[in-house]
Amino acid sequence: MLASHSSNGILARLAGLFCYSTAPQPTQIRSTLNHHSENLIEVRDLKFSRGHRRIFDGLSLNIRRGEVAALMGPSGTGKTTLLRLITRQLIPEQGAIYIEGVDIATLSQAELYLLRQRFGMLFQNGALLTDLSVFENVAFPLREHTKLSNRLIRHIVLTKLHAVGLRGAADMMPAELSGGMARRVALARAMVMDPDILIYDEPFVGLDPISLGVIVRLVRRMNDALGITSIIVSHDVEEVATVADRSFLLSDGKVAASGSPDELRTANSDLVRQFMHGMADGPVAFHYDAPDYAEQLLGRDSE
């Protein structure tokens, strides 16, 4: 019974490789996701490990429709990993992630791609396509997913590049850009399809003060004007406080605290206080687990 079941599975998989699946139309997937709850994204009892290291151990959180939510926490707490799980670049070991009420683990690849057309994501390093110019990088999603005329694509791309202050850099190649400029181009690319959900992975790193101020205001303004939902991963407590409606502080594989930036700043928890005020002493050790410093310097740790 088991053997026939698994051989059927293999045959189906092989058949699937050669059959062009009848991909659902955008309207189909949108109707299946048309769930009018207050929460746009729900993460339930998430468990995930990398190697032997447990990253999430029963993490749950909700992100409300239309808010700017910030994921914060000490290095190595899995903030970027959580983004990758929410976008199904990774699969959780246990638990579920619901977007508009649909468990994303149940989506076929065609449905997943339709869902991802509603996402815009800014990667930590920009992740610009190095063989395309700045203009073509921003135009890339439009060329792949729409049949818009070149004239209209040019109009949209220049509008988005203007918003991030890089209209003049349209003909440059990614290798010619500074780190901050590359991230701003990536931001223009992330918003070029007018997504419903914008995800920012460390958007404020490497920006000069002027660009930082513009980008912070842009994130907030886009969210409010277009009615989208934004998720920001950042260590930058001050900038997050100016832009986020709610922050989630991750620690030990769970949400240690959540609330508005003001609520977190005045929280009684030692962990929250340590993180929000950047204190060396507290529940989160600055030093990674190591043998005694003096013993190691004297070479006695290996005896």
Partner: protein, 257 residues
Amino acid sequence: MRRSVQDIYENATDFLRTFGAFQLFFLRLLRFSPGILVSRFDLVVKQVYNTGALSLVIVMVCGLFVGAVLALQAYSNMSMFNAEDWTGVAAAFALVKELGPVMTAILFAGRAGTALTSEIGLMKATDQLSAMEMMAVNPVRRVLVPRFLGGVIAMPLLAAIFSGIGLFGAHLIGVELFQVDVGSFWQQIQLTLDIDDINEGIIKSVVFGVAASLIAVWEGYNTVPTAEGVGRATTRTVVITAIAVLVFDFMITAAMI
């Protein structure tokens, strides 16, 4: 003892798992190939240029010298039997049936294969493939398939050019240097080399093109996304392609003799 048995078992299962994944990967490339050939032929043309046109110089230079060396060897041996007129035939057979496809495939692996692997590996290391996934663009279809098809199309063309230039090199040595009669040189080739010999060369170059391109994109796509990982993947591309080409060469030759 028990430990070594367990190691052998784990290595064997790892190998089988990787080999299975490699086959499924090949099927995925084949699945998307017709669509890309029809709807995004511009991407394929660009990759034919990258893998083929940019390999032309190395292929032509090597072809010229390989043909010249073959003629030197053939002439020095044939002249012992007063069969200098057969210099061209010996060089032509060696080039068209064996050295053309094999040498081109190995040069292809060293020039274009490594470029493909490192390009795809770096795209992976810098999150470009993940970014495509997030833009709902399948990187296998958009990045890997055009590169695979570009290599498959470019390889037979390069092998033909290698053989052609090699024959020219043999002509320079045989006819211009050793004064073999030009009519005999080319007529012997024309009379002796038949279409089956040329077909054998074409079949080999197509098979080698598939193997070299497939290995290059597989290694790039599965590279460990670090500088060291990309370096190792690039080395593996050359080593595995060279071995695969020689094994396939033996199998095809054995089947066609």
